[in-house]
């Protein structure tokens, strides 16, 4: 096992270096200039020399290769530098938004799990019946509906419903408060995106649960249990579910990693000040320092969670370790 872990960790290194190179190149190839965005976006007449001065101060006039090694060196000395837009340390900007993104990811995962596992099981057990078709239709609809559209509709629906019922239109708060500071405010804001995201996410997990269950239900030991006359419920709970859950948990874990930074559209719709929004802002402003580190953070989280799931698999199934 120790050797396997070592091998897997070693394999992460080229992936991360490759990702860093890719991010760096993609960003630098993009046309545009953060200083032009900063000084010209408003249309006010601006002294051209100010833009040059700004570029100089941000180190954008340095050779690309120097900028690349600055970026990599930042990871070695644990100093990711400052955002080129706000001048605040990148780590500070990320820290402000991390809690929100983490909370949404957790809540959405909970919503997804609660919906997906029971639905997936029912769908598998009643394969090719009307129930199965309905569940699958519900699940596929979750993937098919654009999340920003769902988000806009949720907020509009809330405004209309509250106005007709309470007389006063109500909408979720638009600024974040920590759950420890003001739990009601916090939940009033985050429950909606969590449900919208969780539904999409559950669609995927429901389908996974269904197919994993179907597979397990066909295994010999389940057939044996059934042949022995065991009550169906016990067969499903004791034998099938336990074995079907592993791939489902894997999917949930990998999705969790994506949720941490991949909610770029949903965060816009619900006005969430999270990592996804920070990324969109970074890209729009051409803030290299912010974007490259943020993308790397998402990649690192993803690669790391991937590693954990692989290790879990290897631990559960010794064959993998030796292949």
């Amino acid at each position: 096992m120790g050797k396997y872990i070592f091998k897997r960790v070693l394999l992460m290194i080229p992936t991360l270096i490759g990702a860093a190179v890719l991010v760096f190149l993609l960003l630098r190839m993009a046309p545009g200039d953060i200083c032009a965005v900063r000084y010209l976006g408003s249309g006010l007449a601006i002294d051209e020399s100010q833009i040059e001065l700004c570029r100089e101060q941000l180190g954008l006039n340095k050779p690309q290769i120097v900028q690349f090694f600055d970026f990599i060196w930042g990871y070695v000395i644990f100093d990711l530098g400052d955002s080129m837009w706000t001048g605040q340390p990148v780590t500070h900007e990320i820290a402000i938004r991390f809690e929100l993104s983490l909370q949404i990811a957790i809540m959405a995962t909970l919503v997804a799990t609660v919906i997906a596992i029971p639905l997936g099981i029912i769908s598998a057990v009643r394969q090719n019946t009307m129930t199965d078709y309905l569940v699958r239709g519900f699940a596929i609809a979750g993937i098919a509906i654009p999340s920003f559209w769902l988000g806009l509709m949720i907020i509009l629906g809330l405004l209309i419903v509250t106005q007709s019922w309470l007389g006063e239109p109500w909408m979720p708060p638009i600024e974040f408060k920590s759950i420890w500071e003001d739990p009601i405010h916090n939940m009033a804001q985050l429950i909606w995106p969590a449900v919208a995201t969780g539904y999409r996410y559950s669609a995927v997990a429901t389908r996974m649960t269904r197919s994993a269950m179907l597979e397990v239900l066909r295994e010999d030991y389940v057939r044996t249990a059934r042949a022995k006359g065991m009550v169906e419920k016990i067969v499903i709970n004791r034998h099938a579910l336990k074995n079907a859950l592993l791939p489902v948990v894997t999917i949930l874990a990998l999705e969790f990693a994506f949720l941490m930074g991949g909610l770029v559209v949903t965060e816009q719709v619900f006005n969430l000040n999270g990592l996804g929004n920070l990324m969109v802002d970074g890209v729009e402003r051409q803030d290299f320092a912010m974007t490259q580190n943020l993308v790397m953070l998402v990649v690192i989280i993803y690669v790391f969670i991937n590693l954990l799931t692989d290790l879990a698999y290897a631990w559960l199934d010794p064959r993998i370790r030796y292949s």
Binding site: L22, P146, A203, V264
Partner: protein, 301 residues
């Protein structure tokens, strides 16, 4: 975002699978045993017909503005689904928009999965250093959430339909290559490949005659999964202002423009939203059916 998962899932499912059925028979199975799939196919066919006959069935020119009928509700005069902010007929734009959706969907899915097929088969067949390096490169691409990679690529290339398609294709390639490779690896071990080599057949011939036909199942599954994803991704990029641009009729664009006007004129958002959801729904149902049919593990006994 979410969409990435179905690949991971497919990959997990197909890791050790070597399908053996010829695919003509597979098509037969599909139509008989998959009512949902047939429903999905019907939606897809309806789209194809709408796209093909757009200039015949559209009541209006989709580009024609009617400033005397801006944002009129459905059913007013001859505007069956109402008009948008320029007084353009929404139904006509939806019908023409299916061309854009199909173009984005099919081009991205076919190019993405075919490139994946080529890389996956080549990687499995040649093995060695080529395989090792290619796998590490694919690892890099797979380490990005789909939307973020697409966002970064389109930010680099700039908006517009061609660039959006490139941005969507790029993340598809490694996903398909992975799945194809793991299937192809299994086939490579089968004696007839060795026999073919021993007989002195060229690499190209072995690959085309023996490897490729045997990885058609995962290839087709990935292809159908990509169809819906591409349409959704295009809509998401449009929402971020990076998609197809006016005046080209496109659903994602219509929905994005609608986010300014949907409070007072909900129809501008509802119909394109429904069109996107329905088409992706159709493609996914169809894809699921293809997958259930082609995947021997899930094939009902």
């Amino acid at each position: 975002m979410m969409v990435t998962v179905s690949e991971v899932q497919t990959e997990a499912d197909f890791e050790e699978v070597a399908p053996k059925k010829p695919w003509t028979q597979v098509a037969m199975d599909l139509s008989r045993k998959q009512p949902l799939g047939v429903f999905g196919l019907a939606i897809v066919l309806a789209m194809v017909v709408a796209a093909a006959l757009a200039n015949v069935v559209s009541p209006f020119n989709p580009l024609q503005e009617h400033f005397d009928a801006m944002l009129v509700p459905p059913g007013t005069d001859s505007y069956l689904l109402g008009t948008d902010e320029f007084g353009r007929d929404i139904l006509s734009r939806l019908i023409y928009g299916s061309r854009t959706a199909l173009l984005v969907g099919f081009v991205c899915a076919i190019v993405g999965s075919t490139a994946g097929l080529v890389l996956g088969v080549a990687s499995a067949y040649f093995g060695g250093l080529f395989d090792l390096i290619l796998q590490r490169v694919l690892d890099v691409f797979m380490a990005f959430p789909l939307i973020i990679l697409a966002l970064a690529v389109v930010a680099t290339l700039g908006p517009g339909i061609e660039n959006v398609m490139i941005a969507i294709i790029l993340p598809f390639v490694p996903q398909c290559a992975r799945v194809v490779r793991s299937n192809a690896l299994a086939i490579r071990e089968i004696p007839y490949v060795d026999a073919a080599r021993a007989l002195g057949f060229s690499n190209a011939r072995i690959i085309l005659r023996h490897m490729v036909p045997n990885v058609m199942a995962p290839y087709l599954i990935m292809l159908t999964t990509f169809l819906g994803q591409a349409i959704l991704l295009e809509a998401s990029l449009s929402f971020l202002g990076l998609g197809v641009q006016d005046p080209i009729p496109a659903w994602g664009l219509m929905l994005t423009n609608a986010s300014e006007f949907f409070e007072g004129s909900p129809w501008v958002a509802i119909y394109p939203g429904v069109a996107i959801s329905l088409s992706v729904f159709g493609f996914n149902l169809f894809g699921d059916a293809v997958r259930d049919t082609l995947d021997p593990k899930l094939r009902s006994r």
